[in-house]
């Protein structure tokens, strides 16, 4: 995948002006990813971002109506990217079991830098998803935002993998719960392994998160 130049398209309700369309927009995305990872979402502000990119707070507001909207955009970008990886990896695979195993791998593995997308650092973005994405949907506005389609990419990924689960076992009752449990669970385990390790059983170099969820899925759907 390293040298392909792939286009990830984000639906227009997620921004005011498309950040991919200008140099400044791309700078907003790439620098906000760096800054949110470094400062945390609470301490990140559009003013600080403006200073860092040599631009202005008010210019950033021409791309995103709020800090929250920018986070939602980043989350959507991330899931589009994951969806692309899923489709790409499973494109020529016919065995449902292999497809499922690939999918679990993609959902639970540690992300390291891949250079297919110029202005997004996926490794940092993955850390943001792990640490901050729950703040996006744990809001009083969730229902209104969901209706506007803010979370549809995430839901589409869950649906896609649930369908693979059903290919493996058409009678399994809870495919969506299983997939969303694995996704959220793997993120929690990565976070806990760094900050609250007693909640995990992570050991260096043993890839326990991927192993645990792979085994959990295969046993659960039997």
């Amino acid at each position: 995948m390293e040298n392909l130049q792939i286009q990830i398209t984000i639906s227009p309700e997620l921004y005011i002006k498309n950040p991919e369309s200008t140099e400044l927009g791309r700078k907003i995305i790439s620098t906000s990813i760096e800054m949110i990872d470094e400062l945390g979402f609470e301490s990140f502000t559009f003013r600080k971002l403006g200073v860092k990119i040599g631009s202005n707070e008010s210019s950033v507001y021409r791309y995103f109506e709020s800090k929250h909207a920018l986070l939602v955009y980043l989350i959507s970008w991330y899931w589009s990217w994951i969806e692309y990886k899923l489709v790409f990896t499973n494109s020529n695979i016919s065995s449902p079991l292999v497809k499922l195993s690939n999918a679990i791998q993609i959902l639970t593995e540690e992300i390291t830098q891949d250079n297919a997308f110029s202005f997004v650092n996926e490794e940092l973005l993955n850390r943001i998803i792990i640490a901050e994405s729950s703040k996006a949907y744990h809001t009083k506005d969730i229902d209104a935002e969901n209706e506007k389609g803010y979370y549809k990419t995430y839901k589409r990924v869950v649906k896609r993998i649930s369908d693979v689960v059903l290919e493996v076992n058409p009678k399994f009752e809870f495919p969506h719960m299983l997939v969303s449990t694995v996704i959220e669970g793997a993120h929690h385990q990565r976070y806990f392994s760094k900050h609250l390790p007693s909640l995990t059983d992570v050991e260096k170099g043993k890839n326990n998160i991927v192993r645990f969820y792979t085994s959990l899925v295969s046993k659960t759907i039997k």
Copy 2:
């Protein structure tokens, strides 16, 4: 459990002045639970709380050093309460399988009001844990706070149930990951079932969350 009057003790690093020790303190706890549930954590403020309880913002600050500290207190209270329920329910049970099944039930069931604790509405508190608790530990200060013992009650609950998992299967490699996955997962599913239902397979009256996690655990540890 209905009429027992049980004492839940919260360790002193979680408050400045013990809210259980005064009428005002108890009012702060009970009213903040109602208000956080109603407004969401972001829109809840000590000023609004002061107005509602006929007291003053500055008085609230004598009990808790910050809004965040109050949330951590509530989370700790919740896990102490869950721990009490676990110990109580399993006190005379010798079968590890039954103990585990009871524990999963307690972790994943829907909470309805129980009146053992006068000034805490556990049903609302449970909703707060589901919707807001991840905001407490997804902070840049997590490591410092963890060292101060802010999250020890939660960690103790996970440890306790992990030990039951190991009683059932002493060779199971990932007891902590399994238990923390079930806890966080069940909370997510309850939240998703209300706001992003396509991420779940919840059906009215079928108790699918409890059924899903009970089956997942029993299959996974085999």
